[in-house]
Amino acid sequence: MRRRSVYVGGAVAYAVAVYVALKLGESRAESVEILLLVIAISVAAGTVAWRFATGMDAALRETERGREELALVGRLSAGLSGPLDPPEVASAFLDGVKGLLPATAVATLLQYEETAESIRILAQQGAALPRPDISYPIGALPSGMRTKLIGEHKAFMLDDTAGDPEWPAFVAAIPALAAARSFAALPLASRSRLIGALVIVDSRPNGLARDQLQLVSLLGQYVAGALHNALSIAEADLRADREAVVNRISQRIYSNLDPDAVVQSALEELGAELGVSRAIISGAAEAELTVLHEWHAPGVEPVGVGTYGSLPLSTLAAREGRTIAVRDARSDARLVDPALGSHALIDAGTLAAVATPIGLGGQISGVLALDQVGAPRAWTSQEIRLLESVARELRTALEAAQLLLARQRENQRMLALHRASTLIAAETDPTDVLREILDAASTLIGHGSASLYRWDERAGVLRLAESVRVERDIAPTVLRAGEGVCGQAFLTLRPVIVNDYQHWEHAVPSSRAAGQRAALAVPLIRAGHGLGALAVRSTHAIARFDEEDARVLSLFGDQAVAALTTAELLDQQRRAVEELERLNSAKSNFVSIVSHEFRTPLTGIQGFSELMRDEDLTVAEMKEYAGDINKDAQRLNRMITEMLDLDRMESGRMTLNRERTDVNAIVSEAAQRLASSASRHPIQLNLDPELPLIEIDKDKINQVLLNLLSNAVKYSPEGGPIAVSTRVEGEMVHVFVRDSGMGIPADSLEKVFERFSRLESGATRYIQGTGLGLPISRQIVEMHGGRAWVESTLGEGSVFQFTLPLAAVASV
């Protein structure tokens, strides 16, 4: 208007100047001169006028814009001071700033929900209004935007979305953005808290000028403050509602002391209040969470108490120690980690869930989780806070209940210990006492079996002595030191607590395979020496043992040591009595033998001397009978010596004089000695040249060989061959003496090693038998740690044989 009047005025002035110049000029040249002057003046004046006009125009425009902006701020203030409902506040703001944005732009106001880790649409202006109350997880935002907007509270802008690498994924998460080419997200912060964001998109690239957005951004502070107030009021209302629910739940909780009932009622209330499909409490075992309590809505398939390994979200919440909400498990990147467990529940339709850890005694003892089956669910901050409040209430209730249980358990333990002591004092059978101790230990500490292992010094292994409630394959009968919890407790003489048996390095493979999950063992110690170990163990997934359990089990262990000591004393007493009985019987046996067996040679001595005295004999006959008397006297002497030897060996009073000896040499020597006196029997030697020297009592083994060889000669027919061979077999030297006699019936193979067994018919005796040769031989070989026996085929002959260990072993 102003500019047009200046132009019109200029044109009119110019026309007047031309006319005046034509009229005033007397000559054409003069007129031209005047015209030029007029034009010059006009141009100068026009220039001045134009300059003035434009300057005034800019000033006027500035004033007008300032007025407009003032009016906008005024309208905004008025608009924002009115409503208390956050969506209304948001709509008012969008209406207010509409004029500041390009006509093609679409603005959306989002609320940031920190607890739920999501953004929620409060209001949208322009085309394609989405469904109301829609929200998106923070995880769906491009990382650059998350850093700028949420991390730094700064604007995030894309001039052309086509060039941004993260854009396609963003559009996939929020399809409404498909048409946007320019994108701007402006933070709305109030009192350094991010309240939300104003997102502006335009279908044209570079469609959003930065100076335009600057003003919008400034104005955003108004709405941020207003929204903050509105949200705070809304939150306060909701908190009041939530408190009412929590109060209701805690009333239920505190009206009950049974922790199971407490938890069950809390889950029921919470599940019903929030309209979820399931509410689950899982327990924290070392490796995997296990469902301990479960509530489920009618018609929903329960997960099942005792299930473990399929709670990925609860596991994640326990691991991170905070609440985690998942709106759609199928697309949530946080659940991809396979270490979190099976996705079976998700595959079966549990699409949304939220889980919060329950702390107990300073550590996370479980997880409270809510499941939504069949559809994704955007968990609100309110719902999440309610869940957290209930988790806190549960923690307090569970702590109280656990304290009570612990006290009850302590009382029971003391009673059981007292009962075990009473049993020991009453001198009940030690085996019964051990069983009683194991039974009590298993009931009070374990959730499963209990076993007692004793160290077997000779074999160098732990042997299962007693067990109660043992499940299949879980308690092996023999353990090496260091193997399993008992082996470790025995080796270290310290309690061993294993709550992750499946992954424990010293686990016994069969116990691991049988599903053992937790085990506790204490060493059995007497006077500083390990006697064995006592263990309780469980296949139950949530079984855990702690220091307190170890302390109590140690008390049971002390009782077990006392019982074992009693048992040993009784055993010693019994053995002493048995030894006395054995000695007594040996004595009467000896007396009987002296009176019985000795009478045979005595008969000879008496008879021949009688003949010599009473008969008329030739000198030759006299000499012969005297020789016979001498033989029987010698036999009597041998019998006495061998009887005494055997007795000393059997009672362990004879020691071996071991020296490094070549068994082949003794065999050859004995064979030669026999051959010279019994040349009618060819003696064939088959000796192993590789036979090593071994530590034996040379004289005694020589005695064994002479016994066996003279037996072979005695029982082989005239001229029957005898074979002696030696060889190394495993860890033993093996000696064989083969005769060509008539053989020994199978039922008498052992009998020939008994004292004075009468199996032989004395027709071909070379040496007058004492009836003690074979028992003495066997005794000598066994003192060396070997074995002596006979194999025989009737009609073909017998093979008397014995073994001697290559490495000297203590006599047993």
Binding site: P601, T603, G604, G607, F608, R758, S761, G762, Q768
Partner: protein, 123 residues
């Protein structure tokens, strides 16, 4: 002349008995165990039998039972020679058909007297 069977497994005692009986005028048969003794008794039908109690294969009591079981041999007097001469053993000997017990060690005079006592006077 009577026939006497001795069952005795010890060669020294066998030799002693042979020496003691050498001039008795009786026919002496020697068996080394009960089995051989039974066979000889059945073959020679002796007038008197002496048997050791503890012998291989067939002991004295088993021999006594076997003899008693057969009417041909049941009537032959049988004397057990044993080191155990307590009352119980004597009773045991009687149960197995023994006509008495000759305790070890025995003198030659005792042996000869027992033979003389048990053989029919006509002998």
């Amino acid at each position: 002349m009577a026939k006497i069977v001795f069952c005795e497994d010890d060669p020294m005692i066998q030799k002693l008995i042979r020496a003691a009986m050498r001039d008795s005028g009786h026919e002496v048969h020697m068996a080394v165990d009960g089995e051989e003794g039974l066979a000889i008794v059945r073959r020679v039908r002796p007038d008197l039998i002496f048997s050791d109690v503890s012998m291989p294969k067939l002991d004295g009591y088993q021999l006594g039972d076997a003899l008693k079981a057969s009417p041909d041999t049941a009537g032959i007097p049988l004397v057990f020679v044993t080191a155990s001469v307590q009352r119980a053993q004597v009773a045991e000997a009687e149960r197995h058909g023994g006509a008495g017990v000759l305790p070890k060690p025995f003198t030659m005079a005792e042996l000869r007297k027992r033979v003389a006592d048990l053989l029919p006077a006509a002998g």
